[in-house]
């Protein structure tokens, strides 16, 4: 890879409150994967990860996650930076894999007030009953679109497009402050 | 009809206001009328008034399913302006604007037409280009509209935030000094009283349930909850309910009805001298004579006849209001409400004859109907009386959606780049 310097959309500084920390996530590779049923088995095997077919569910393994976003759409995230495009290129069944590693960036919200912090701008029911660990969906955070993923009872990952990241961070920081108020 | 005046009030004050007569009567419908207007909003009542006054047609009934002026006339934010882009729009709105001036005197009813100025804000280069285009077109059409710098805008509207660091800094504005507001109820009531005085019947709480037709398809009357009423000419002025009424004559319309919300604040001492509109951040605001800030919100995204909408629509509008006027966050919303606006594909109205002989339609005003009231009513009365359009409404035909001769004010303000 090049020596060229990467400039991330957000500084890696932690903000938030005692109730909910708000921290930009490390770099990861990502693809937007689109495919019909006929390609799922091959893609799952190429990615070494089952592609979930139930709404709002995810699969994860060794730092690689497949988030169900729609009936023919997954967001694949690899926290170890694997070349996901290359993995999918081995599959001949019709599908669309598109690199979105740099389009998206992520923010981790963690702490007992994490759900409240996100509910400062997100209209979904984030109770464990309705949004259990592993749940994921595309949704809204106030005026922007996000992908929300719950990695543990009190930790969420918010993915958004890079130019919206400062806004997302601002909303989450205010939400986190209010969650502790 | 007794004339309204300061003297009349003084006289009545002496006798505890016992001498006032009803502003309009509540007659039982006759068997038939020369013209039936469906819908007793400002446009419908005005049409009846001008039929009587300008065309000598007084055997007219205005049929209303609820109470007169209870639809969009009584629910809008009362902005009056005529600085539209296209010649066609300038024609009809300009026609209305000229009639607003002097309407109180014509009706002997103070409609509180207030030329306090309408300021439309430009927030980006595209807005500037678009407003300049409007200003030049208006100037050559003889319609006042002028460009203000941000500093001039601030001088005209002191609460305005013209900080360069705001999210969408103001790059200037188009000001129509003769634009302003009027008292919405007074417009409906003034037309009702004046039309009633000339013999027009206003029949409230009477719903039209059908349109009856003759052997050649021509209209012969309406079925109503008060029975059949005969007529050779029907003018449909039913705003959000137009599709429903026109369907009774078998005509499917290019209309969609959306909820439109508005709100007022608690009354405040005078703080806001004019009308300010910003299409870019979606804010429409003025202050009523009672002191309430009157704020227009946007339409909900789905068609509805519910006359209610979502809180998020109001939220969106107030975001913009507080961005433009940051001192208003502590002002309180006192009342919010919804109307039903009928919207055409090109966002311009339809004032037109129809394929059904004797049936005329005036609709599709979207969010802009109030300001057009006198012009629309006047031109529509002409169309009904003469069986041909007035020059002000000639372009607003129903068949333009077949030919493609649209008058697309919304597209003309398209977002750039």
């Amino acid at each position: 890879m090049s020596e060229a310097i990467r400039t991330k959309p957000l500084p890696a500084t932690r903000t938030g409150s005692a109730a909910a920390s708000v921290t930009p996530a490390p770099e990861a590779s990502r693809i937007s994967l689109r495919a019909g049923e006929e390609a799922l088995a091959a893609l799952s095997s190429a990615l070494d990860l089952g592609l979930p077919t139930q709404p709002k569910t995810s699969e994860s393994k060794n730092g690689r996650m497949a988030l169900w976003l729609g009936p023919d759409e997954w967001l694949i995230i690899d926290q170890n930076g694997a070349d996901l495009m290359a993995l999918c290129a081995t599959v001949s069944a019709p599908h669309s894999a598109t690199d979105v590693s740099h389009r998206n960036t992520a923010i981790i919200i963690s702490g007992p007030g994490a759900a409240d912090a996100i509910n400062g701008g997100c209209p979904l029911d984030l109770s464990l009953k309705s949004f259990p660990v592993g749940a994921c969906t595309r949704t809204l955070l106030a005026k922007i679109e996000i992908v929300l993923y719950r990695s543990s009872e009190d930790t969420f990952r918010v993915e958004c497009w890079r130019s919206f990241a400062p806004y997302a961070l601002g909303m989450l920081a205010e939400g986190a402050m209010d969650a502790s108020a | 009809m007794r004339k309204f005046s300061a003297f009349a009030i003084a006289r009545e004050a002496m006798r505890q206001h016992k001498g006032w007569e009803a502003q309009w009567t509540s007659p039982e419908p006759r068997k038939d009328y020369d013209v039936i207007i469906i819908g007793a909003g400002g446009h419908g009542l005005g049409t009846a008034y001008y039929l009587a006054k300008e065309h000598g047609i007084t055997n007219v009934a205005v049929i209303e399913k609820g109470w007169l002026g209870g639809g969009n006339t009584g629910r809008n934010t009362t902005i009056i302006r005529s600085n539209y882009l296209y010649d066609e729009s300038a024609g009809i709105y300009g026609h209305a604007h000229r009639l607003w001036d002097g309407l109180s005197q014509d009706l002997n009813y103070n409609v509180m037409y207030s030329e306090r100025g309408v300021l439309m804000l430009a927030h980006n280069v595209h807005d500037v280009q678009s407003f300049k285009r409007h200003i030049h077109a208006n100037r050559l059409n003889g319609i006042p509209n002028e460009w203000l710098t941000p500093e001039q805008a601030k001088e005209f509207c002191p609460p305005l935030n013209i900080s360069k660091t705001s999210r969408y800094p103001i790059m200037g504005g188009a000001l129509q000094r003769t634009g302003g507001t009027a008292r919405h109820d007074a417009v409906a009531w003034g037309y009702a009283r004046a039309a009633n005085d000339r013999g027009v019947h206003i029949i409230q709480n009477c719903e039209v349930t059908g349109i009856t037709r003759g052997p050649n398809g021509e209209v012969t009357g309406v079925e109503t909850t008060k029975g059949h009423i005969g007529t050779k000419k029907i003018g449909v002025v039913a705003a959000g309910n137009t599709s429903v009424v026109m369907e009774m004559a078998g005509i499917r319309m290019p209309l969609t009805s959306y909820p439109l919300q508005a709100l007022v604040s608690e009354p405040l001492k005078p703080v806001f001298p004019c009308v300010v509109m910003s299409n870019t951040v979606h804010a429409y605001i003025s202050q009523s004579d009672k002191g309430e800030l009157v704020i227009g919100a946007g339409t909900d995204q789905y068609p509805s006849y519910s006359q209610t909408g979502g809180l998020h629509i109001i939220n969106h509008t107030l975001d913009a209001i507080c961005e433009l006027f940051p001192m208003f966050t502590r002002v309180k919303m006192m009342r919010s409400w919804g109307g039903i606006v009928d919207v055409t594909p090109d966002r311009s109205p339809i004032l037109s004859k129809t394929p059904v002989p004797g049936l005329f339609v005036n609709c599709g005003w979207g969010t802009g109907g109030f300001k057009a009231t006198p012009g629309s009513a006047h031109a529509f009365a002409h169309t009904i009386a003469r069986d041909e359009p007035h020059k002000a409404n000639a372009p607003f035909t129903l068949d333009r959606f077949r030919t493609g001769r649209l008058i697309d004010e919304a597209a003309a303000a398209a977002v750039a780049h």
């Binding site: 890879m1 598109t98 509910n119 108020a181 | 969408y168 405040l268 107030l318 507080c322 977002v415 780049h417």
Partner: protein, 999 residues
Amino acid sequence: MSGAYRIAGKGRLTPARQARFSFDGKFYTGLEGDTVASALLAHGVHLMGRSFKYHRPRGPISAGSEEPNALINVARDATREQPNVRATVQEIFEGLKTNSQNRWPSLEYDIGAVNNLGAPFFSAGFYYKTFMWPKAAWKHVYEPFIRAAAGLGVAPKEADTDHYANRYAHCDVLIVGAGIAGLSAALAAAQTGASVIICDEQPEVGGALHYEAGTTVDGMPGFEWAQKTAQKLAAMDNVRLLTRTTAFGYYAQNFISLTERITDHQAMVEKSAPRERLWQVRAKRVILATGAIERHMVFDGNDRPGILLASAARTYLNHYGVAVGKKVGVYTAHDSAYEAAFDLKRAGVEIPAIVDTREKPGDAVMAEAAALGIKVLTGHAVIKTSGRLRVTSMTVGRSTKGTTTKYEIDALIMSAGWTPSVHLFSQSRGKLTWDADNARFVPGTHAQDCLAVGACNGTDGLANTVEEALGAGELMARAAGAAADAEKLSLNTETAFEWTGGMVGASEGAGPDTVAKAFIDFQNDVCAKDIRLAVREGMRSIEHIKRFTTNGMASDQGKLSNMHGLAIAAEALGKDIPEVGLTTFRAPYTPVTFGTIINHARGSLFDPTRKTPMHDQEAALGAVFEDVGQWKRAWFFPRAGEDMHAAVNRECKTVRETVGMFDASTLGKIEVVGPDAAKFLDLMYTNAWDSLKPGRAKYGIMLREDGFIYDDGVVGRLAEDRFHVTTTTGGAPRVLQHMEDYLQTEFPHLKVWLTSTSEQWATVAIQGPKAREVIAPIVDDQDISNEGLPFMSVVECKVLGGVPARLFRMTFAGELGYEINVPADFGPALWDALYERVEAAGGCAYGTETMHVLRAEKGYIIVGQDTDGTVTPYDAGLGWTVSKKKTDFVGIRGLKRPDLVAEGRKQLVGLKTRNPKVVLEEGAQIVADPNQAKPMTMIGHVTSSYWSEHLGSSIALAVVVDGHKRKGETLYIPMEKETIAVEVTDTVFVDKEGSRINV
């Protein structure tokens, strides 16, 4: 200390916990927990405000949020000033500053009160009948006068320094109101395991138990039980208890908005604490336990300071320990006022008489009155009152005609009965039914999954209320799916009296044919006679009457006045009340600050600010940015001493002569992938794509179905099944939506997928004769010669020693040009690397303004500037993009409509001013005959206009009627001060043959 009217041993406040506050500059000592109203009443101060129209002196009539009179201004500091605050709601704290409103020069001596003398003239709707002559006077004299007289508080002048928060919440059962009904319902719901939110507008729970001194629940005094119950609920994991929280809106599908007031009662405010929080609650089930509001009696002079609702007097006494007077008259049509009289009497207050309009009040209260030695005048009325700034007497008689007796008093309490608070139920679009026996509207048909319990449901009696509420709590929780085992709850309640009675409408002396100032709507100064006047003037609908008189339209939203107004209207119309109908209840229940509603959406969170990856680099070069949608785009890069004009001239010249670099990252990008990708694009664009070879690119035009231009952009084919589509910056989201719509709903058989990659790539355009030599060193192993990478081609390669890139050979400037796309994190590195080389080559960075000039010199359109949604490709001179071979694409039929193929369409042309130094104004209108009168016939307008430094003249693009046939014609542009002659030309001003591009 805390006031001469504070009664030792009464109330629940702690005498030792004092707080000093000011009202109109004078300092008072109150107790913690006091409202401004209770604290002032404790000092014998009743005068707290002036009415809207007549500026009549007014004191608080209530002890709650229904207060119409006692509106004050509350200021923490200059940036935190709040007008129109109810003194009956605002809690005091040490240092609180409050002021009265709507008076000048002072509350005691208000010049505006002259309106009161003119009251006969200012009848309802008087303004519709006058101020019409002379015509000009409305604008210059009458309206300014009316405006200045109207209004209540003064709007804040400075931006608010408080902040506000929002929380979306979900629950199984939302309970509105935490009086005995709401608390009972919450207990029953909570023990089933359901998630419960219960809210109440007051600082503590309890509702009516605030004043109900004689009620016990499970052996405890009612208020104490309520606090214990609240503690118990608050300790449960599945319950959220919110006090100082008003449910103000009930929207579709059980979406309820609440406003929680967090800091307005605090002396010291934590910086992180929001002032108010909006709760947007989606509840599976809703229980409304909103209680009832006492009505006043409608009689002559019923608005003087010192005249209050009976329940308010009880609240002041039993909760705050404050007597509203020392000699308190009672006027009632309902038993409830008796209990107030009993409580006051027992507290040592003199009760000269209870005046009851009824011949037969309840037996129990009559017996108790006798026992306490209180005189009761049944079948009597208070005919009038006197007192300027405070009531000093009431005149009592059987009727206005007979003998009357005057009683000296310093306060008068009253009750006409209770109005169920059906506001939220009505907002939920439930239908109300008329309970004729009790003259009240109660919830009837439900429109949503909610139940009303207790007083708001018209349920009378404590035991009935509790039973109903317990049942509803469990029922709604079960309906929401709660399944935990729970025991059947019951509560033992005892109360001193069950009440009877009530009336709506005007009392004796305020009936027809009177001139009495018997107020219905206090704030808006609407009297009984105003309602009758409206009816006399032909108003039949209650909506007309409301609007004509403004009854119920004040900031209390008619909580006290609606029923009285309706009854008087019904009487005047000779109809039954339900026939006249009720006006619609609308959100909010009580006024809500804009701040609560917008909450976080201020400053940087008002709307996202989108910046490109290279924003900081551009800012460091001194870029001035422009807003394009949510994006900040570098507009121009002024150097020392340069204005915009100079900077743009230099940038243009530099690009044409050497090289320039431009941040094109904001352009929309869509990856179109799949075996049917070309087929799909064939349908979406006018052009043909099947024939485009991988590695090549083409300019495409997209139409709407109606045939008008929707968007444009360059599309590159990366592989047989993969296209890189670009859109305009503003068009990116709508183009994707448009494509998805057709793909999913009209062409679902096509195997192709769309992915937005707008933000995956950072894009730098390098344009100018030296473009190739500038990029050569940073491109790894890729032939970029004219042969290796010809004009309109695209290649995936590496740059900067290994960074993957998509390299386009294309231009929007009419020069040798490239656009380099790299993954966005590498954008700054790419920019820096290029800038170093561009600068070394004598080039510069340029912004959107220069981009616009360069493209206009080439006649390239900007969608949205040169087109406006009414322009076809033919109008724009882009007919060559429309495939003649295709049998279908979006817009193919729309293009053939009669008006789109008719003569006389506006077509895009170039314009040259006769004087080349004159730059036209964009938007300027074009005429053929400059000497015609207004309104002129306009045949087109200038869409783009610039100074071309390259040509040394101005250039312009315009749309003109039949413009393509007018080349060479002279047309005119009438400006304000001069008319400019222009010649119609071709749209291409520079390098018509394209020789600069293909090198």
